[in-house]
Symmetry: C3
Subunit: 300 residues, 3 copies
């Protein structure tokens, strides 16, 4: 598997597919190490985490592997996220989830993340959700401090609208080198709402969460899911019967924004299958067949 | 009360709270002078007017005070607006309100405003509503003429979408240094529709009309108003029982865009209360509690 | 009739009204030549075509006229379009229309267009619909190649959202000098959705398709069509009884974006009538009367 530079503004490349650990709590502890190694064998060198994953526990599980095998760290790019406060966490006494982007919260979150992960640095830190209270200058100062201390090498955002991204990137000196967004054959909004346009315009590659629509691709019973599955089955037959997850990923990968899917499956054969999607190429006609099936109306 | 510079592009500062005179017709003439003086005593030096307020009469009432006490003028920053033609006015013979942004209309409106106000200049003139017929070059020429003649010192807009603001500011040489918009705990659209993002991106501070939702904050019976009031009451109890108007203003003031509320109340104790909102600081959690109560769904 | 330069970025002017040939199949072959000459006599020098018009046949009909009278070519500006694949065409085997913006498709389409038209060059080539798969660098390379070979002199787009336009124009060296969009008194979205703002901001004049709402202006029975017709009839009476198509075009022409309507009628008297719209000037009040009738609510 090749690597892709996220943006000409920064020297960070991720593997074409990223392993997402948000459901790491479901994995028996003894299997986590081989999960990472299986990924590495396929060329998947990039790991997606967040402080809140697994109710603040995911990074600790992953960190044990890094502690047992410290030489792993340099083979990996580790992405983590900050800004969300989960309901039930010590800072959320009112049963309400919210966002914090103060220097205090971000620095504290990163330090806890580094401690949990048993590492000295993150390759990439993302603002997990756009907070209306984000203050560009303060955020810039915070990021600069984290960069200077060596704790975080690069910065980006997640789930940002075009307007939020351009506001922040215009007013910050720190380059924001990705926007991690939800996108799949069952969720095509980013194609039309400017999100992907804004990535291309600003020369950043989007990371994609739920690139397989959380599995509803295979089992969803909505009319939409059934139509999309029918189109993908037809296309699969035309392409020599690759599994549907490969077709769904190949659909994303054909987009000129250069998307980097984050896959959350921990079954080795599924990861292997996903990796093969890199070799699968849809025709323009096949690509639009899936889009039309998903959006429910023909192209104008 | 401190002052805030509206934009690094211009040397104009307004008081942190602005007194809006759109309902000045309701005030007995003999009380207007003390209203202005009461504001000044609190540090409220900025006055918000428009040619059309009070069916074109508000500025005349205010102007009488300025005539009686000419030394007031230099202690104040006066903001006015132009572009709306009210139904029933001499230029609207069809019973239809509309907008005009021609040089002729704007210059005439400003001259009438100066005459009504008994002053030689406006500190800030706003295009009251975005007209689809605005012609940036012509507007630039008009503004330049008003600036050169000393009749208007600074320019801005009101009720503009991001797209309208960026179109105009991109194609005009005259800096547009504010966008006066509606925003309150009961009207949170500007947070999500790009309006506030665009202010931050363009380094202008928004002026806010109806920052207390026209009073429906205190008496509104909609489910939304009740939920927001409940949240604000809870927060008030946490903060030592400030009145709800202070909580509602403090909610706006926490936003990084640096909003400047225009308050339309003429009761001295309410103005005093509003001024105290500057000292009230909400926690992030309290801020989001109000947002969530207003939008009716938790943060994603 | 005068000509208008589409953008300061390029040396191309179109006549104030453009003749659209998408329904040329309906015209008896022997009448096409006089149709073009009638237009020329009125100063309509610009022709709007597309590879797909008339199920890929329109350009051939027009091309026969250019073959019979080669001296016509230099008197005309010819606009054509590419990127759409019609259902039923050889490249669409699945009964599904879609878009292709690959170098191969565009170059092939342009070469077929030149052959059909019996000309060596297009004055302006538009991407007919925004494809999500547009790759700015590849498109730039393709356009540069067409420009260098002399096959296409200028480039633009059609039916693009603001976000799509700014993405492409930001990342391409080739100037995009128009966006051909749908707009009429019965379809006022471009006024509010940023489309026209983006034209002004980027200093391009929009070309307008269906500027008379495909005739439903005159015969539509919807409440909206009836209200708009009523307003236009009243305004016509105020202006000395010009026909409604002139009022509808004059409404567009008053907009500061400098729109260039593409009219699709082939009746000489209708073309003549349209040309006269250039002389008709609506007042601001009349302009808003039509807008308000169409949008169904007064100006705020």
């Amino acid at each position: 598997m090749q690597k892709q530079q996220l943006s000409p503004k920064a020297n960070l490349s991720l593997s074409n597919i990223v392993l997402g650990l948000w459901r790491l709590n479901d994995v028996p502890a003894r299997e986590i190490s081989s999960l990472i190694h299986d990924g590495l064998d396929l060329g998947i060198t990039s790991i997606d985490e967040a402080d809140i994953y697994g109710n603040y526990q995911s990074q600790k599980y992953f960190g044990r592997v890094l502690k047992e095998e410290p030489s792993l760290r340099e083979k990996l790019e580790i992405v983590s996220k900050t800004a969300i406060v989960l309901p039930g966490s010590p800072s959320a006494k009112k049963g309400l989830g919210y966002y914090v982007t103060t220097e205090n919260h971000i620095v504290h979150s990163v330090e806890q993340t580094l401690k949990d992960l048993n590492t000295h640095y993150l390759d990439l830190l993302l603002i997990h959700r756009p907070s209306p209270l984000m203050h560009p200058e303060m955020l810039d100062r915070t990021f600069h401090k984290l960069l200077k201390s060596g704790k975080v090498l690069h910065f980006g955002v997640s789930n940002f609208t075009p307007s939020q991204f351009e506001m922040l990137s215009e007013r910050m000196e720190t380059p924001l080198i990705t926007n991690q967004i939800e996108w799949s054959v069952l969720h095509v909004d980013p194609i039309y709402d400017g999100t992907l346009d804004t990535c291309i315009k600003n020369q950043i590659k989007p990371m994609i969460w739920s690139p397989l629509a959380g599995g509803s691709l295979f089992s969803g019973q909505s009319e939409r899911a059934q139509k999309v599955r029918k189109a993908m089955n037809e296309i699969s037959a035309e392409l020599g019967d690759p599994p549907l997850d490969q077709v769904a990923l190949a659909w994303l990968l054909k987009h000129p924004s250069g998307p980097i899917p984050v896959i959350g499956t921990f079954q080795k054969e599924r990861v292997l299958s996903a990796a093969k999607a890199m070799q699968l190429e849809l025709t323009d006609e096949q690509w639009f067949q899936i889009l039309v099936a998903s959006q429910g109306h023909p192209m104008p």
